[in-house]
């Protein structure tokens, strides 16, 4: 990034937005599960959803440098919104998805006014506290959310009036992957815009940005709302494809998991969350089969190793191995 900092900003951004062959190959490869592992399409759908959730965290953490320990709040809020709409008799997936996205966006916009005021430990604790507050509220309001039993009775209609959500997950994966790709395009556009550059400026030096005239709080509010919308969509996808919503969607565990996923893959790299989600979910699926309790031993070891040996995540490590090629930043 530093090498081109002196060049024309416009040309720099234009160079960044060009599609690389590796990226095109990656997205083509996401179609492989339909052919190679048709029995694992439900897992693939979960991976796509987790990837979208991690991508939304990447926007605020990887680009704007806002560390959040409560990002599951928006995921769970979207999830419950989508689930409740379907439960109350409107099972159309796409409109449900949009309504859930809007609801999560409103919640994100409202909380962003708090978020933009704080940094460091206070920010981490406030995001954590807001997430826990929402989880406790959902737990208490069991007449609405079903409490610890989860939301029952979610029935989805056919997608586009044609495709039933089946047991094998063909529809679920197609649907999740399509939504992930669309929102990935949005995220890619956002971070390769001047607005995206401003976000990176906030990450690099939060004090200097207002000093050179950037409206940092407004930028933070904007990106936080976008991230909340994306997290809400991810949650809604989970509710619609599994036809149930549990309190776990709002839990601290989910916030921590998505952070781990993003860091494993590499934060601030756009593909980091997706790569992290693939590795994490596949590893969990395989290792939990052996012994679910010790899964955390391996994920903990992996985290320590990544922080000590690969400070920029797996993608950062790969990028260092290939110094001639510039990684998609």
């Amino acid at each position: 990034m530093t090498s081109s900092a002196a060049a024309e900003p416009q040309r720099y951004l234009e160079a960044q937005i060009r599609w690389r062959p590796l990226e095109i190959a990656f997205w083509l490869a996401t179609l492989l599960p339909f052919v190679l592992t048709p029995n694992y399409l439900l897992l693939a759908s979960q991976i796509a959803i987790t990837a979208l959730f991690a991508l939304s965290l990447d926007l605020i953490l990887g680009y704007a440098g806002i560390v959040s320990l409560g990002h599951a709040a928006y995921f769970g809020f979207g999830s419950y919104t989508a689930g409740l709409i379907a439960k109350w008799g409107w099972g159309e997936p796409l409109t449900g998805l949009i309504i859930a996205a809007a609801a999560a966006g409103v919640l994100g916009y409202l909380t962003s006014f708090i978020i933009a005021r704080f940094r460091h430990l206070a920010l981490i604790m406030i995001t954590l506290g807001l997430g826990l507050l929402l989880a406790e509220a959902a737990n208490s309001a069991s007449w609405l959310t079903g409490g610890a039993d989860g939301l029952q009775g979610v029935r989805m209609w056919k997608l586009l009036g044609m495709f039933q959500f089946d047991l094998f997950g063909t529809t679920a994966y197609s649907y999740s992957l399509a939504v992930l790709f669309l929102l990935f395009l949005v995220a890619r556009r956002v971070i390769h815009s001047p607005f995206g550059l401003a976000l990176r400026g906030i990450r690099e030096n939060a004090v200097r940005m207002p000093a050179i005239g950037a409206a940092s709080p407004a930028h933070i509010r904007k990106v936080y709302t976008i991230a909340a919308v994306m997290a809400g969509v991810a949650g809604a996808l989970l509710a619609q494809t599994t036809e149930t919503v549990s309190l776990e969607t709002l839990s601290f565990q989910r916030s921590a998991d998505v952070l781990v996923i993003l860091i494993l893959g590499g934060a601030g790299r756009l593909y980091g969350g997706i790569v992290g989600a693939i590795i994490y979910m596949v590893a969990r699926d395989q290792l939990s089969g052996i012994n679910p309790q010790y899964w955390y031993f391996w994920i903990g070891t992996l985290l320590v190793a990544v922080v000590i040996f690969l400070p920029n995540g797996i993608l950062g490590g790969l990028a260092r191995l290939m110094p001639a090629r510039r990684s998609p930043a």
Binding site: L61, M125, V260, V304, V306
Partner: protein, 287 residues
Amino acid sequence: MIASAFGVLFDGFAYGMLLFLLSVGLSVTLGMMNFVNLAHCSFAMLGGYVAVSVTNDLGWPFLVSLPVAFVAAAVASVAFERLLYRRLYRATDLDQCLLTIGIVFISVAVAAYVYGTIQQPLNVPSYLRGTISVMGQSVGVYRLFLIGVSLLVTLLLVATLEYTRFGAQVRAAVDNQRMARGLGINVDRVFAITFALGSGLAGLGGALAVEIVGLDHAFAFTYLVYVLIVVAVGGLGSIAGSFVAATLLGISDMAGKYYFPELGAFLIYFVMVTLLMWRPLGLFGRR
């Protein structure tokens, strides 16, 4: 059942003292080195398991197991500090968070492997069980003992910090690390000792906690949130702040559980978020 206001206050205060023991070390080390050590409660959990092991398996008296838990947690923390933490003093908050949460994950899995996932029983000697009557109110002997130990530790801590040379070095390093280095104070050594002491106190807290809140493999996770709340609300590097915040949290949590059980933990999270929005640096934070 409506508990008496005195009973709630007393139990809440005892609980708060426990939280204070668990969190004071983290507060001081965070204030000094800005090192976000989320694994602090793992050392507390270690202390708890050590106390359970030496009393149940080796048959040592409970009162002996407390200093053993302190020493075990302190020694373990020194090893971690040397091997892992030292590399990351200059790293970002996020890296420190991730490294230490990785250690939490590992410690939880190791505890589940060694001790299983059940609650660990601890045989408290008979003279610490039951209740006695103080001014017409019946109070638990063990809680009284817990409060006594915590107040003693607090007095020792304050005396060490205020009246010894080492305490002066710690205060200097918390106030301004670079200036302290410039004056020839070996901040790394001071920090290592403080870190060991703080983790030892967490270990002691963990050992004392077994009787009150129980001990299982998820302890390091469950109490991490409480400890972080105490540290953030009290302000970094402030013993008085941790004391006040822990007492507040203990009493409000206990009051919430007695009077509004349907709200769950809603109340304490709400108190924390409101307090932090009012004072982002905590009640006693200065920077």
